[in-house]
Symmetry: C2
C-alpha cells in the first residue's frame, strides 16, 4: 500500500516518475495498491471555481466536484503505468468500496468493501485508488475532509491486511521539530502511534491525526517518506523499542492560535455549558480551556480557537457574556503553541521543569499550559514560537538523536 500526495503528482513528468517508483515496487514481487491525492493545486482551483458560481456552494455538490480531482490523477497514473507495460487500473473511491456516512465535506469511513480491489490484485494488476472520497448508501459521493487521502490509504491497508502503508510526500519523514524553524532538527527513524498522534495534532503537518488514529486502531505500520528521494523516512508503529521511549522525541508547534478570555464570570453551575454549547453548534472547534481559581465566586474563562474562527467565535460569545453578566470579553490572535512530546512524561517531572526553565531563560512568557500523558504544551506569543522551538530542541538534546 502506497499513497502519493498532490505535490508528488503535479504535472506529467512527476506522474511518470511516480509510475517508475511504483513499477519498482511491483518488480520486487509485491501486490501494490496506490492511493493518490489530486494533482498540485487542483482542489484549491476547483473550490475557487465553486465560489465563482455560488456564494455558498452546497456541500453535497462541492463533494462531487472535488472528487474529480483525485479521479484525474488516478487515471493518469494508471495510464502512465500501462504505457510502460504494467497492468494497472484506477478506481474511484466508490468503485474501491470506500463507504462513508453522509456528512458531506467531512465524511467518516464506515466500511471498506474491498472485493473489487482484491479481484483486480488477484488478476495481477496494480490498483490505483482515488483518495479523499467515498460513497454513501444512496450512491452520493462524499469527501473525507482534511487528511482524507491519508485516511483512505490507511483504511484500505487495514482492510486488505497490507504489511505497511507507505505515505509518500514532499518531506523526508517526521522530524524532531520543523526544520524550517530548527535547523538542527533530524528525521526520526521510528515513532509510536501515540507520540505521532500528539505530534500531528499539535502541529506536525506531515500526517493527519485521523490517519494515525486509524493506523493505531488496526495496527497498520505507516511509513512516511519523500517521493523525491530515497531516504528511509519515518516508520510509525506500535512496537517502538523500549529504549527510545520514556524521553522527549520531538517538538511540535502551531502558529494558528487565537485566545478568548471571558473576564469576571459569576462562578455557578452551567456557566461553561452556556458558553461552549453555542460555540459547538456554530461548528467552532475549541482547543485548550482554562478556568482560573474562583475568587469570591467570580472567575475568568479562557479558551483557544483557530485564528480563522476567532471572529465568528467572538460573535457567538459576546452576547452570551453580556447575558451571564460577565465583566468583559477579550481576544488575542497573535499566539502560538509549542509542545514537547514523548512517552512517560507525566512520570518524569523533570521534563516540565526543563521546558518552563528553557522558555523563561529566553524571556518567553507562558500564557497557558496544558498537558497529556505524553505531551506538555505552552501557549506563548506567536513572535516567540521560532525561538522557543530552537531553544527546546537544544535543551532536550534532540539534535544528537539515539
Amino acid at each position: 500500500m502506497q499513497k502519493y500526495g498532490g505535490t508528488s503528482l503535479a504535472g506529467a513528468e512527476r506522474i511518470k516518475a511516480v509510475a517508475r517508483r511504483i513499477a519498482a515496487t511491483k518488480d520486487g514481487g509485491n501486490q501494490v495498491v496506490v492511493v493518490v491525492s489530486a494533482m498540485g493545486d487542483t482542489t484549491d482551483e476547483l473550490i475557487e471555481l465553486a465560489y465563482q458560481v455560488a456564494e455558498e456552494p452546497s456541500a453535497r455538490e462541492l463533494d462531487l466536484l472535488l472528487s474529480t480531482g483525485e479521479i484525474v490523477s488516478s487515471t493518469l497514473l494508471a495510464m502512465a503505468l500501462r504505457d510502460t507495460g504494467y497492468e494497472a487500473i484506477s478506481l474511484s473511491g466508490a468503485q474501491a468500496g470506500i463507504q462513508t456516512d453522509s456528512a458531506h465535506r467531512q465524511a467518516r469511513i464506515l466500511k471498506v468493501e474491498s472485493r473489487r480491489v482484491i479481484k483486480e490484485l488477484e488478476a495481477g494488476k496494480i490498483v490505483i485508488v482515488a483518495g479523499f472520497q467515498g460513497v454513501t448508501g444512496e450512491m452520493d459521493i462524499t469527501t473525507l475532509g482534511r487528511g482524507g487521502s491519508d485516511t483512505t490509504a490507511v483504511a484500505l491497508a487495514a482492510s486488505l491486511g497490507a504489511s505497511v502503508c507507505q505515505i509518500y510526500t514532499d518531506v523526508d519523514g517526521v522530524y524532531t521539530a520543523d526544520p524550517r524553524l530548527a535547523p538542527d532538527a533530524r528525521p526520526l527513524a521510528e515513532v509510536g502511534y501515540e507520540e505521532m498522534l500528539e505530534l500531528a495534532t499539535y502541529g506536525a503537518k506531515v500526517l493527519h491525526p485521523r490517519a494515525v488514529e486509524l493506523g493505531e486502531l488496526y495496527n497498520v505500520p505507516i511509513l512516511v517518506a519523500s517521493s523525491f528521494s530515497d531516504k528511509p523516512g519515518t516508520l510509525i508503529h506500535g512496537g517502538a523499542p523500549m529504549e527510545v521511549r520514556n524521553k522527549v522525541m520531538g517538538i511540535a508547534h502551531d502558529l494558528d492560535v487565537a485566545k478568548i478570555t471571558v473576564v469576571g464570570v459569576p462562578d455557578r453551575p452551567g456557566i461553561a455549558a452556556s458558553i461552549f454549547q453555542p460555540l459547538a453548534q456554530a461548528g467552532i472547534s475549541i482547543d485548550t480551556i482554562v478556568q482560573n481559581a474562583s475568587i469570591e465566586k467570580i472567575t475568568d474563562l479562557t479558551f483557544t480557537v483557530a485564528k480563522s474562527e476567532l471572529a465568528e467565535a467572538m460573535r457567538v460569545v459576546k452576547p452570551i457574556a453580556k447575558e451571564i453578566k460577565a465583566r468583559e470579553c477579550l481576544s488575542d490572535s497573535e499566539l502560538g503553541k509549542v509542545s514537547i512530546i514523548g512517552t512517560g512524561m507525566q512520570n518524569t517531572p523533570g521534563y516540565a521543569a526543563r521546558m518552563f526553565t528553557t522558555l523563561s531563560e529566553r524571556g518567553i512568557n507562558i500564557q497557558l499550559i496544558t498537558t497529556s500523558e505524553i505531551r506538555i504544551t505552552c501557549i506563548i506569543e506567536a513572535a516567540k514560537v521560532e525561538d522557543a522551538v530552537r531553544a527546546l530542541h537544544r535543551a532536550f538534546e534532540l539534535e544528537t538523536g539515539t
Copy 2:
C-alpha cells in the same frame, strides 16, 4: 428536458446565465432535467494530459478521466442554481442510471434506470445530469463517444416521457445550409427526423445523428436552439406538416473526405470482402463505396474515408491490393461532399437533374454520386465545396423559405 453544450458553460459567468435560463423554465411550472457537456475545452485538455503521461492511453482509464469534465460542469451548475434559491442536485451518469455496454470510448446506452432522477424530481428538485457518460454492470465508467451528451439528453427524455428535449448550443438552430458558406441560409422552424438524420450524417454539425435516431425511435421531439439568444430554434419531430415535405429543405456539406481507388481489381467473388473486412477490423469507417462496371473481369473499386484515417487505411489496403493482384492503389485527400436533402426526392427526378446542372454550370466536376430516399450526395473537389453550397442554395430557392 434541456441540454447545454460546452460553449454555453465556458466560465463562471456563462454558467450563471444558463442557471437563470433554467430557473425561468422552472418558474414556468415545469419539472426540469438538464444534461450538460464539459465546460469549453475541458475534454480536449484532459485528452492532452493523458497523451503527456502515456503514448497510448488505455480506453478504460481515458473514459474515467474524461467523465470528470461533465461532473465538474454539472456540480457547478447545481451550485449556481442553489445559490439563487432553487433546489437543484447534480448526478453523474452512473447516479442518473445511464447503463451502457463496456465498449469504452464509444459505449452504447443499454438502459436508463431513472429511479433516482424521478425521486429527485418528485422532491421538487431541478436535476442536472453529467452528459456523455454511463456505467457498466461492473460499475466501470464509460463514455458515449461523439455526440454523447446529446444522446444522454434524448435517452433520458425518452425514459422520463419528457414532452420535449431542448438542445441548447451556440447556433440558432438547423439552417438550410451552413451560414458561414451560404450567407443566405436561414434557420428551419421544423424538420422531420429522417431529414435531420441525413443532414446530421452528411455534415450539419449541430446535432449528432445518434441523438436524432434515438429521438425518432422513441418519438421524442427535439428542439435545437441557441443558449445565447431567445430565437425559437428548430423543432425536429415526426409530424412535420405535409406541405413542407416533398421538397429540398437543406444543403449539407463535409470537408473531411478522402478517397481511395484500387485500380485494376480482378472482378471475382470475395474481393470486396477481402478489402473491407481488414479495414473494419482496423476500426476505419468507410463511407461511400463505388465499383465501376466490370470490363473483361477487371474493375476499379473506390471508397471514401475521413481524412484523418486515410494514412491508416492506405497502410491496410496496399498489401491487400498487391495480394489480390490489383494494378495500383491511389488516394486523394482534397475532397468534399455536398448533399441536398428533402423528402420524396427519389420520386421527383427533377431534383437530381437540377443538382447536377447547377454544379456543371459552376464548372464543378462530380467524382462520385450516392443517393438515399431523401438525399443526393456529390463528392467534388474540396476547394469547390463553398461555391457548390451557395449555388445549390440559390438553385433550390432555399433563401425564400415557406
